[in-house]
């Protein structure tokens, strides 16, 4: 399948907030009530269309447990979007958002689009975090916000697609510097890769894309201290 852009996502948040279920709902359109703990990181992918363009989403679903934190940090760099998930029925998962956000901001590039997600919106009766609180948090930290339910699939599609839209807009605005000749630089962010040829499908106009964040080019030219 040919595609015009390739976006890498990561899903982060406390353990048990439904990160894997969100991914499963998005990629397979099904819900698994009993899910094993994610070990390390799991991968999923899907094609979406924005502005008439095919966009491939590669999604890395990370383990929420503290013990995996050092592993999952490796995935921040190079991700164009992050879904930061909490559980609306568990106040503590909301309280931990600041830590997660600090972690993400520290290890990722500043242009990474972060979508805050309050999951399990179907469990209204057990709600502990008001929607307004989520909205306020997102406003305060410059995130996009949505409440979803991986169980009923409510807003799941929108969450992934809206994030992609935001990234796409950033590319259109030129926030991401698209450059062919950056492969050799050691700090190359290649979350947008060139689309692949495929024998059966007509190929989209070939963007030989590799993307570098502007400040990272600047980064690379500085001597390391």
């Amino acid at each position: 399948m040919a595609y015009a852009y390739l976006f890498k996502y990561i899903i982060i948040g406390d353990t048990g907030v439904g990160k894997s279920c969100l991914l499963l709902q998005f990629t397979d359109k099904r819900f698994q009530p009993v899910h094993d703990l994610t070990i390390g990181v799991e991968f999923g992918a899907r094609m979406i269309t924005i502005d008439g363009k095919q966009i491939k989403l590669q999604i890395w679903d990370t383990a929420g447990q503290e013990s995996f934190r050092s592993i999952t940090r490796s995935y921040y760099r190079g991700a164009a979007g992050a879904l930061l998930v909490y559980d609306i029925t568990r106040r503590d998962t909301f309280n931990h958002l600041t830590t997660w956000l600090e972690d993400a901001r520290q290890h990722s590039n500043s242009n990474m689009v972060i979508m805050l997600i309050g999951n399990k919106s179907d469990l209204e009766s057990r709600r502990e975090v008001k929607k307004e609180e989520g909205e306020a948090f997102a406003r305060e930290h410059g995130l996009i916000f949505m409440e979803t339910s991986a169980k009923t699939a409510s807003n799941v599609e929108e969450a992934f697609i809206n994030t992609a839209k935001e990234i796409y807009e950033k590319i259109q605005e030129g926030v991401f510097d698209i450059n062919n000749e950056v492969r050799h630089t050691s700090l190359c962010f290649s979350f947008l890769l060139k689309p692949l040829h495929s024998s059966s499908v007509p190929v989209f106009p070939l963007f030989l894309l590799s993307v570098v964040f502007q400040q990272c080019v600047w980064f690379a030219t500085l001597p390391l201290s």
């Binding site: 990181v41 592993i71 490796s74 290649s190 024998s199």
Partner: protein, 973 residues
């Protein structure tokens, strides 16, 4: 430098200082010298000694070297020496040390070690291995040291980065798990190492590949991070740049790394598939017809490429993942490309073998791919199906053993979960479809079955068994196959021929082991008659079979034959278990009795157990691919091991059970069936109830929604009622005010404000009217008086009649005014009525609003409200009619005033008439006076003339003259 020379010189002649002493001195210098150059020289000296005095340098200098790495980061030269020294200490690979100065060549890591090592060398190697492990352990005791190396890799300088890469590789080789752990948790550790692949200097990129190979070895977490850092993309790019399979060892290293990343890592496999990288593998296999170059490197590369394909579709992967990979391999043409290699000429045997294995796994269990494979033709004349060509190799004893195994695997995979394919294969044996002119798969299998080569026998048996696997139709179809053994003899069924070979196996001189043939045939028979009572009956129908089996089982044979005995027991067991009791001599009971008498139950079960106890059994059970170390070990088939597992228990049970037990069991079965029936009934009932519940739930849902709607309407109505109540309260208040004012002013009361206004207006109007009325009355009385005076004046006047008329009219006016007054009275009374009614209504409202809390009462209130509102309405209407009548009255009043006006004008006319009549009277008086004078004069004249004159007339005249005199006076005035 002097010191260094001294060391070297000392070595050449004179009393030799021991290595340890020299190293100690150098270490002191490294530690204490303040001059960078001094330290640099000392480290360089340590480096040169590090191979010869590895032990000494390692134990004494390690600490100092690490210190250098931490403190002298600004000088890349000293860093380089220190890293080189550490590398020499830690690396165990002699050859690599020698090669270290050469840039481009990267030695093969795995093969390098064991080349030409003689016995003493081996001991030395072992010693150096120990040293390497020891130093590695020492080095990684502090995880910070690994982090240090990682940070040094950021240094772009070749003299730092390259030895850094090599050192880390060596560390990983020696203590993989620990070092992996440290790198994994150090921030961006793995990502930094991935950046090595982007280095423009090939040496570093290539050594980076080796480093990543070590790094990713059996560590899924690291494998995933490396994949996340676009490893697939870069590695595939490098492979393409280097010329794919024609490329050198770099391609091989890339492929090894790819294998590391994908093997047993479903997440990465998914990523690889989703990243459309499968499509990029297709060009690798476009080796085409140029048979010229099959270099050793190309064979190695292609081998690894094929393995990479197999990793993606391995039978041990989850079925869903494999299936989607198989699908995309077909869609992108990879399978077709592999089949081209399969049919190409001049392909080295091991590549061909691996290609067959790869094709096998690409088509296994995938209907589309299996169908495609069945349609592939070999480019021979006439074209033959690829399956036939492959089977020809399988039953050809001159072909390499591994190739024959691969073909068998391919055939098995073709038939796996492929009922259509199974049917097609069996059909080539059936009388109706046999084509004598061409070689068919069935013919080749039969040929293999009865050939003199035991390996062919075994392969053909297993292949045929796979054509029957889980397929009752084909098991029954195959019973129809008849064979013409030799001229003049009646044809024999295939089943019979198989048992014949079993029992008379000794008659034909065979190559290979007899056991292999018999095991193969027994596996075929077991698979065939398993779960197929008709086949069991066919088998038992031959009188020789059961005695043969019992003889085989009961005999006390050698070790070799134990497996055959076990298989015979299994076959007999299946005959019991799947017996439909249609043959009188061989019913279940009779066979069991036979076992008891001739073999003994315990003995039978023990023999049966020989199968699973065989050493090769568990090996075959592990994976579907038939892999055997030697042709003799080719005894078990993977699918057959599953069958044994399934049957062993049930057969043991079946044999142990006595006929009574069986009867009991049958009873139990019957009751169970009854139970089942009951359960089924209950289940149906439950299902029914379920649907009912569902319906009811839906009903409840609709009801609740309805009730919600009702609730909302009720609340709406409640608010309406509240509004009404408020209105009532307002009205009540107003009414109270009105009644107060009524008490004071006797005025009318109304139901609402408008009416009060109207009433007050009416009252005012009435007041006005009354005033007008009194005014009019006053005027009238004035006029009456005037008229009376006039009348008295004109009592004798001619216009008296006119005055009376006027009087009449005035009377009429008066009566009209009277009637108006009475009407006003009526209105007053009506208003009082209204007031009363309103009071009654308000009192009603008060009483009802008091007890209005629950819905029912509310309804009551509502109804009352409605009544009241209607009453109010009615009152309004009444007041309206009242106002109408008031208007009427107004009009009447207006009419009255107008008539009054008319009357006034008439009166004025009358007055003028009176005036006129007065004048006339004056005139008349004047005339009278004149006439009187005339008459008097005439009388005088008559008297004078002597005529008599009446006295009366005189009297009258006198009277007249009095009046006249008066008049005259007036006139004179």
């Amino acid at each position: 430098m002097n010191f260094f020379r001294g060391v070297m010189g000392g070595q050449a002649a004179g009393p030799q200082p021991s290595g340890a002493e020299t190293i100690q001195k150098l270490c002191d210098r490294v530690a204490s010298s303040t001059l960078l150059e001094d330290r640099r020289d000392a480290v360089r000296a340590l480096k040169s000694l590090s191979k010869k005095y590895r032990m000494e340098v390692g134990t004494q200098a390690m600490e100092h070297l690490i210190n250098i790495l931490q403190t002298d980061r600004s000088d890349s030269e000293i860093l380089g020496y220190a890293l080189d020294t550490l590398y020499n200490l830690i690396c165990n690979d002699e050859e690599e040390e020698q090669d270290e100065s050469e840039d481009a060549v990267t030695p093969i890591p795995a093969s390098g070690k064991h080349k030409n090592v003689s016995m003493p060398d081996e001991a030395m190697q072992k010693q150096s291995d120990d040293l390497g492990a020891q130093f590695t352990e020492q080095f990684i005791q502090d995880p910070e040291h690994i982090t240090l190396i990682l940070s040094l890799l950021e240094e772009f300088d070749f003299h730092v980065r390259w030895p850094g890469v090599k050192l880390l590789t060596a560390l990983l080789k020696n203590q993989g798990v620990q070092v992996q752990g440290i790198i994994l948790v150090s921030p961006m550790g793995v990502s930094r190492l991935m950046d090595l692949l982007a280095d423009s200097r090939e040496v570093i990129r290539n050594d980076g590949l080796l480093l990543l190979q070590q790094l990713t070895k059996s560590n899924a977490a690291i494998q995933k991070i490396v994949a996340f850092e676009s490893a697939f993309e870069r590695l595939l790019d490098i492979i393409t740049e280097e010329g794919s399979s024609d490329g050198g060892i770099v391609v091989e290293d890339c492929l090894l790394l790819l294998l590391n990343l994908l093997k047993n890592n479903s997440s990465n496999q998914n990523f690889f598939k989703e990243g459309s990288y499968i499509q990029r593998m297709k060009p690798w296999f476009e080796v085409g017809d140029d048979n010229s170059g099959w270099s050793a490197q190309k064979v190695t590369n292609l081998h690894l490429m094929l393995q990479l394909v197999r990793v993606m579709v391995s039978p041990v992967n989850s079925p869903g993942a494999s299936a989607s990979c198989q699908k995309s391999m077909y869609q992108c043409g990879l399978l077709q490309q592999l089949c081209t290699i399969l049919m190409a000429t001049g392909v080295p045997a091991d590549i061909l073998t691996e290609t067959i294995n790869t094709v096998s796994e690409v088509i296994r269990g995938s209907q589309v791919n299996q169908d495609y494979f069945a349609s592939v033709n070999a480019p021979s004349n006439p074209p033959r199906p690829a399956i036939v060509v492959l089977l020809m190799s399988m039953v050809n004893e001159r072909q390499p053993f591994v190739l024959r195994c691969a073909v068998l695997y391919c055939f098995q995979c073709f038939l796996y979960k492929n009922q259509k394919g199974q049917g097609e294969i069996v059909a080539t044996l059936l009388p109706s479809t046999i084509d004598a002119n061409s070689i068919s798969a069935g013919q080749l299998l039969c040929g293999g079955l009865f050939s003199a080569d035991s390996l062919s026998n075994w392969c053909a048996s297993v292949a045929l068994a796979h054509a029957l696997q889980d397929n009752l139709t084909q098991k029954e179809q195959l019973l129809r196959v008849q064979l013409a053994t030799s001229l003049g003899k009646p044809p024999v069924s295939l089943l019979q021929q198989c048992t014949n070979i079993l029992s008379q196996g000794d008659k034909i001189a065979r190559r290979g082991s007899k056991v292999q043939t018999r095991v193969g045939l027994l596996m075929l028979l077991c698979t065939w008659i398993n779960n197929c009572p008709i086949a069991v009956t066919h088998f038992l129908h031959n009188q020789e079979n059961v005695p043969f089996l019992t003889a085989q089982i009961s005999e006390n044979l050698g070790e070799d034959e134990r497996l055959v005995q076990g298989l015979c027991a299994l076959l007999l067991g299946i005959c019991i278990f799947y017996n439909d009791n249609s043959l009188e001599n061989y019913t279940k009971d009779k066979l069991k009795q036979l076992i008891e008498k001739r073999i003994g139950k315990e003995n039978f079960v023990e023999k049966l157990g020989f199968i699973t106890k065989h050493e090769l059994y568990s090996r075959a059970a592990q994976k579907p691919q038939p892999v055997f170390l030697s042709p003799e070990q080719m005894l078990f088939d993977h699918e057959f091991t599953k069958l044994v597992k399934e049957l062993e228990g049930v057969i043991t049970k079946a044999v142990h059970k006595s006929s009574e037990d069986e009867k009991k069991e049958e009873d139990v079965k019957k009751t169970l069936e009854q139970h089942d029936n009951i359960v089924m009934q209950y289940k149906d009932l439950i299902r029914e109830q379920d649907t009912q519940i569902q319906e009811l739930k839906e009903q409840v849902a609709t009801m609740t929604s309805q009730s919600e709607q009702m609730q909302t309407t009720v609340t709406q109505q409640l608010s309406q009622i509240q509004q009404h109540k408020d209105q009532y309260n307002i009205i009540k208040l107003k009414l109270g005010k009105d009644s107060q004012s009524q008490a004071n002013s006797q005025a009318d009361s109304q139901v609402n404000g408008l009416q009060t206004e109207e009433l007050s207006q009416l009252r005012e109007d009435l007041e006005k009217l009354r005033q007008q009325h009194t005014l009019l009355q006053a005027q009238l009385s004035d006029k009456d008086a005037l008229i009376n005076t006039l009348r008295s004046e004109t009592a004798e006047g001619s216009a008296a009649s006119d005055n009376t008329e006027m009087l009449k009219e005035l009377d009429a006016l008066r009566s009209q005014v009277h009637s108006q007054a009475t009407e006003i009275d009526q209105m007053k009374t009506e208003r009082q009525e209204l007031l009363r009614k309103a009071e009654a209504a308000s009192s009603e409202a008060v009483s009802s609003s008091d007890g209005s809390l629950d819905a029912a009462k509310m309804a009551e209130v509502e109804s009352r409200l409605a009544a009241q509102t209607s009453e109010t309405e009615r009152l309004k209407e009444e007041s309206k009619s009242l106002s109408k009548s008031r208007v009427d009255l107004d009009q009447q009043l207006a009419a009255a005033t107008s008539t009054a006006a008319i009357l006034q004008t008439e009166k004025a006319q009358l007055q003028t008439e009176v005036q006129e009549s007065k004048k006339e009277q004056d005139d008349l008086l004047m005339l009278l006076a004149d006439q009187d004078q005339k008459i008097h004069s005439l009388k005088q004249k008559l008297k004078a003339l002597g005529e008599p004159v009446d006295d009366e007339d005189d009297l009258d005249a006198r009277d007249q003259t009095d009046d006249d005199e008066e008049d005259d006076d007036e006139d004179e005035d």
